[in-house]
């Protein structure tokens, strides 16, 4: 049974599936959806049965059209809007999930839609995917972190044009600039995301989370401090049972059997 109105949360074989579920509104991110995502995201880290999550959009037309324009201008005051933004820091919450987030993108991923995908770790796109940050066209700037996440994900030279022009880029261009990991036929989108998920799930899960943490924290540090942090993390990782098993398996030329799942 689904307890949510605007999203669907499911679990199967260690994978949490979060589906943006307002297909009639092209999965536009309204206040309700932000609330529900904010409610559901901690489950990914808290639930011991979940190893990682796949995020996707319901319906044929796209992943998400971005913020719901019908709610524009409904905030009681800018001061309250700003306060709510940080009291319910959805995008910060996305970025702080310690387990891997894979996002499967088809059709339109605009504004907050593409920004949500940029808070995830691995982006898989269908051939019909269209990405855009149209904010400048309506006198805005990206508001769900896009001006910060995109230049970190892809080289600055690749990020500036989409952000400044607001032009829509297709899947091939997204692949070229490094915004997405892979482009596949639409029919194969979810199975490809699951395939990537299974690869990651076959690795040591403590190592996967530490690696994600090292990358995330490291980009906010000077290189020297980042290297120190990494040295401390690898020293800790090496004390885990998974690392001992991984090294034993390597020596014996067999596949490791990692026991840690959460």
């Amino acid at each position: 049974m689904n307890a949510f109105e605007t999203i669907i949360y499911e679990k199967r074989d260690g994978i949490a599936y979060i589906t943006l579920n307002r297909p009639k509104a092209l999965n536009a991110v309204n206040i309700k959806m932000r609330d529900e995502l904010y409610q559901v995201l901690p489950a990914i880290d808290d639930d011991p049965e979940v190893m990682l999550a796949i995020l996707k959009g319901a319906g044929d037309r796209g992943f998400s059209a971005g913020a719901d324009v019908t709610e524009f201008g409904t905030v009681p005051s800018q001061a309250i809007g700003r306060q709510v933004r940080w009291e319910r820091d959805l995008w910060g919450q996305f970025l702080s999930v310690s387990k891997p987030l894979i996002v499967a993108i088809h059709g339109f991923a605009l504004g907050a839609g593409v920004e949500m995908s940029m808070c995830c770790d691995i982006r898989i796109a269908a051939e019909d995917a269209r990405f855009g940050l149209p904010e400048v066209g309506i006198g805005m700037v990206p508001t769900a972190g896009g001006s910060q996440t995109m230049p970190r994900l892809v080289p600055l030279g690749m990020a500036l044009a989409p952000i400044l022009t607001g032009e829509i880029i297709n899947a091939a261009e997204a692949l070229r600039i490094g915004l997405v990991h892979q482009v596949v036929p639409k029919a194969d989108l979810i199975s490809t995301a699951e395939n990537v998920a299974h690869k990651i799930m076959s690795r040591g899960q403590i190592a996967v989370r530490y690696a994600k943490e090292a990358i995330r924290r490291g980009l906010d540090l000077p290189l020297e401090q980042g290297l120190d942090m990494e040295s401390k993390l690898i020293a800790r990782v090496l004390t885990t049972e998974d690392a001992k098993e991984g090294i034993a398996a390597y020596r014996e030329g067999r596949r490791p059997r990692f026991t840690f799942t959460n």
Partner: protein
């Protein structure tokens, strides 16, 4: 000092360094890391070395850390002297430009070593990647820090979390290597790049390397200030005067490094 795990060969202004444990894929153990550190110190202290090329003896560039040895180190030893970290720090400390000539697999600590170089070229057969999470480990020689700075957080996260090696073509496409050549052309191509680097004004090349690397760790304002300061310092060098003179006389400049 005699080296056993690395080959050190000086050819005029160029040094060739080869990881030299070909029977074990040039894996990095403490011995190799220490010798690499000594070699880098020797290069820094030597007169007139203007470029370094690092490659691997035999079929691999470097297939990773010596996991058997790694498992035997204590936590403290690892924090103090993780071989992968020692090796990549030693190479990163060189002031002159360093080219990685990736002649085969560059995996784990091997790729980390290549990331500490300034220019990476690869032979067509090379595979590059971070398999660490497959062994329940994470990269420990700067991979989680240097890779995102070089190819962006997006590609770095994919490579490290999915933990599957990519081929040389893909490495070129994502900007991890600047050129891919047939295996038999790799030495020639690396020397060609080194020759070009050596022909430039050596202090200027070193300052440019410093400006790019140090600048990435600064706010833009601070980075611009560093660049301007280095640029003003260069105006006091003989090489700068020679560079301008040669330009006006329409001839090739000859730089003394002074």
């Amino acid at each position: 000092m005699p080296y056993t795990s690395v080959k050190f060969e000086r050819r005029e202004q160029l040094v060739w360094l080869a990881l030299n444990r070909p029977s074990v894929g040039n894996t990095i153990n403490l011995q190799l890391a220490n010798e690499l550190s000594d070699a880098c110190r020797e290069i820094s202290q030597a007169d007139g070395v203007r470029a370094v090329i690092i490659t691997g003896a035999g079929e691999s560039f470097c297939s990773g850390a010596d996991l058997n040895e790694l498992a035997s180190l204590t936590t403290n030893e690892l924090i103090q002297a993780n071989p992968a970290s020692l090796a990549s720090r030693a190479v990163a400390s060189l002031n002159c430009p360093v080219i990685a000539a990736i002649n085969g697999d560059a995996l784990g600590a091997g790729l980390e070593l290549a990331l500490s170089c300034d220019i990476r070229i690869a032979s067509e057969n090379a595979r590059l990647g971070f398999p660490e999470t497959s062994y329940g480990l994470i990269p420990g020689g700067g991979g989680t820090q240097r890779l995102p700075r070089i190819v962006g957080k997006g590609k770095a996260t994919e490579l490290i979390l999915i933990a599957e090696p990519i081929d040389a073509g893909e490495a070129h496409r994502i900007g991890l290597v600047t050129k891919v050549v047939p295996k038999e052309k790799l030495v020639e191509e690396a020397e060609e790049i080194a020759k070009r680097l050596i022909s430039r004004a050596p202090i200027a090349v070193r300052y440019a390397k410093e400006a790019v690397n140090k600048g990435m760790d600064m706010t833009l304002e601070q980075g611009l200030r560093l660049e301007a300061d280095l640029s003003f310092l260069l105006q006091t060098t003989e090489d700068r005067a020679e560079g301008i003179k040669a330009f006006l006389e329409k001839r090739t400049a000859y730089f003394e490094g002074e």
